[in-house]
Symmetry: C2
């Protein structure tokens, strides 16, 4: 099984081992609530056994669709927002080569849309797609979420104008509700290939469903290995053999209760930038409610040691760090020797770049601990499909446990509706007549 090691030694200056142990019954109860499905939000627990419940036949089907799109398309646009794009983007970046965007032979390019309301963004995207063979993966449970619905309207019209309605229908894949909703209706009418978002899997827990699997497969990654990693982790956590998620959930709650209000997820590998964005949604949206919750933030080190490093070292002592450490990199680059040695780097000559990175990591951890920043260290072997599947499930499980320990429903997001209601009122959406009147009076 791929390894995930959680080390809380360097958090124990702020919260004692005893305090952590005193939370043992609390965490056991939260785990039981989650596993037995007896808590708030228990109609959204489909993700708990999703890896196990995903049949090989679905994986094969997704891989076949991905292969078809790879064959037909130079570009695939993934249309979705929030949980409908962050998981896929996180895995694509973690496994990808950041310079493939410049490589015209790398195909298909995968780009995202419907995750903003940027008029210039959509203009530039449509201009880029003009004259190219492209496909669309549209991801929306309802089909009416504003951002993806606008983008999909524009892109569908563009694709149909370019290749005709029949070919367009073959190049569009919809991931949506099994039966209901605008996108399901349209997909049935047009004959799109479709995949189902289960009712009991919320957006931020959906990366191991077709929502994440199809874009990841289109990019050529091994989604079977991703699921295998998740399955192993699911089995280990649900059987109680693996306590890592409990340890992480307990420690972060203990730190929060001790006044550490901000958790900074730290990586030392640029490929993990979007993994942290995925994590921010997972934890922020699950826990930020009822006027409580750790504020999730993220940095890429050593890059951000030269921006947020000063604050972390010497600012308010209201933070803790959770480091994702990746033991092995994929490629070897050694630092060359230089006769003149003007930069004084010859003491590193012959060393691998990652050896320096690992010492930056250790040196930074020690400096921040000395500066009063508690530290949780999560170590994984490498950035592979299998380790990522495992890590995703680990963070999901820990999130459910942690939310119950915090005393919230980790699986709803009532606060996301407020801006939508105002927006619809301001845009005079049919059905919002009273709200429109009220908000217009308010803004004068």
């Amino acid at each position: 099984m791929s390894n995930i090691h959680v080390n809380i030694t360097d958090a124990l200056g702020t919260v004692s081992q005893k305090a952590i142990e005193a939370m043992a019954s609390e965490v056991r109860e939260s785990v039981a609530t989650l596993v037995e499905g007896t808590g708030a939000g228990n109609d959204f627990l489909g993700w708990v056994r999703l890896p196990e419940n995903t049949p090989d036949s679905l994986v094969d089907d997704i891989n076949a669709t991905a292969a078809r799109l790879r064959g037909e398309c130079e570009v695939v646009v993934v249309v979705g927002i929030g949980g409908s794009y962050l998981g896929a983007k996180a895995v694509l970046e973690a496994l990808g080569n950041p310079f493939d965007v410049y490589n015209k032979d790398a195909r298909p390019q995968i780009v995202f849309a419907g995750h903003n309301i940027g008029e210039d963004y959509l203009h530039d995207l449509q201009q880029y797609l003009d004259g190219k063979q492209f496909g669309i993966v549209v991801i929306s449970k309802s089909g009416t979420t504003t951002e993806p619905a606008i983008a999909f309207r524009l892109l569908k019209a563009q694709l149909e104008a370019a290749v005709g309605r029949d070919t367009a229908a073959r190049r569009i894949v919809a991931i949506t509700d099994a039966k209901r909703g605008a996108l399901r209706t349209l997909a049935t009418e047009e004959g799109y290939t479709t995949y189902v978002i289960d009712d009991n899997v919320g957006g931020r827990f959906s990366v191991l469903s077709p929502v994440g699997l199809l874009p990841i497969a289109i990019a050529g990654h091994d989604i079977k290995a991703l699921l295998d990693g998740a399955r192993e982790r699911q089995k280990a956590i649900l059987s109680g053999a693996d306590k890592s998620a409990e340890v992480y959930a307990t420690t972060r709650n203990a730190l929060y209760r001790a006044g550490k209000k901000i958790e900074i997820l730290v990586n030392y590998n640029p490929r993990l930038h979007y993994f942290a964005e995925w994590w921010k949604q997972l934890y922020g949206e699950s826990e930020g409610k009822d006027h409580k919750g750790i504020f999730p933030a993220a940095v890429d080190f050593s890059t951000d040691l030269h921006s947020m490093g000063q604050w972390i070292q010497d600012g308010e002592r209201s933070i803790f760090e959770t480091v994702i450490s990746v033991s092995k990199v994929d490629h070897e680059v050694r630092i060359p020797s230089d006769e003149a040695n003007l930069d004084g780097l010859n003491f590193l000559a012959g060393k691998r770049v990652d050896e320096v990175n690992k010492m930056a990591e250790l040196g930074t951890r020690l400096a921040h601990i000395d500066g009063g920043v508690p530290n949780i260290l999560i170590t994984i072997d490498a950035l592979t499909e299998r380790t990522l599947g495992s890590l995703i499930y680990f963070f999901e499980a820990a999130c459910g446990i942690s939310g119950y320990m915090l005393g919230v429903n980790p699986f709803n997001q009532p606060g996301v509706e407020a801006y939508k209601r105002n927006m619809f009122a301001l845009l005079a959406k049919p059905g919002y007549e009273e709200e429109t009147k009220a908000i217009r009076e308010r803004i004068g």
Copy 2:
């Protein structure tokens, strides 16, 4: 003059107008300290009059170098970390087309290096550069900062091997100290074109110096207009005609004193993502010291309404938002009508996408204010060189004022050294023998 409007009306539920007025003498004192150069860190105030002090001849010279590199290079690698890359990247993204990376005719592509210690990143970069005509802009005051020094060693060797030492010397531009340091010495020996980082301009205040100007000019943007915008803002602020920076500095300090510990910089334009990263360094590194300082965070809306939106709406009431609102976009995209109207979007048919975006913005501001999140609204006309120059100077000036109001030296960054010392000790750098012994004993 390009417009910057700061509206604090929606912060006044948390701090009263009276409380703000009571800080008038304090802010006046901070402004005087900054303008007269009588405060802590006053040997780093070169940025205050940098726009005015930048002669046209320097701008012309930078533009000539940029044109030469554009002519000779398919790719230019900008090597730098922290303030040596964030400002340029912020402006490039704010003015650029995000899909140009896929366009093989867009040249030169500008990529960054030396801002991480990623072995895979450097491997993938070197592979990408293989066989391409590339140049290097290396930015480092000393020439010995670990991250850029490693990247530059590798890339310089690659370039010299590919095109020979003479051609390489023509394709490398060094931005460094006027007289001292490893990079200055090397540049003199090799005959590189060079530009100077003034002693009194710190990294995070350097975007309007050659550090930012050269990469921005290489991308084809109008650096004269950027400086003009900054000059106008400098003149207005230093003459006292423009109080916007004082208002922003006062309000954020008032909110901080009222327990709002996290400032979230919000944009509704995806092009501003890296502008927020630049801002995070500017404020985080200037204020995060002596165990105080607002924690700077950032979100891209509406994207992150579907990740951090829940937390902001309903989490701990320890935050405030500062919104950068851009009045006009560059391109026009209208939402098409659709006969079937399955997605129910026909009420938006014919509207511009940005009209929807503006209602998302207003609707979100109202929702978050109702949720107990004080709001500072900063409005600019459009994303142009001129407005960006103006906005950069505004934020720099406000940062200096704000730091003095907080009671710190806004122009040092002592906390950034701690990790470096540990790293050098762990790597057994010559001169660190004692530290090496100590840290090895510590980690066992």
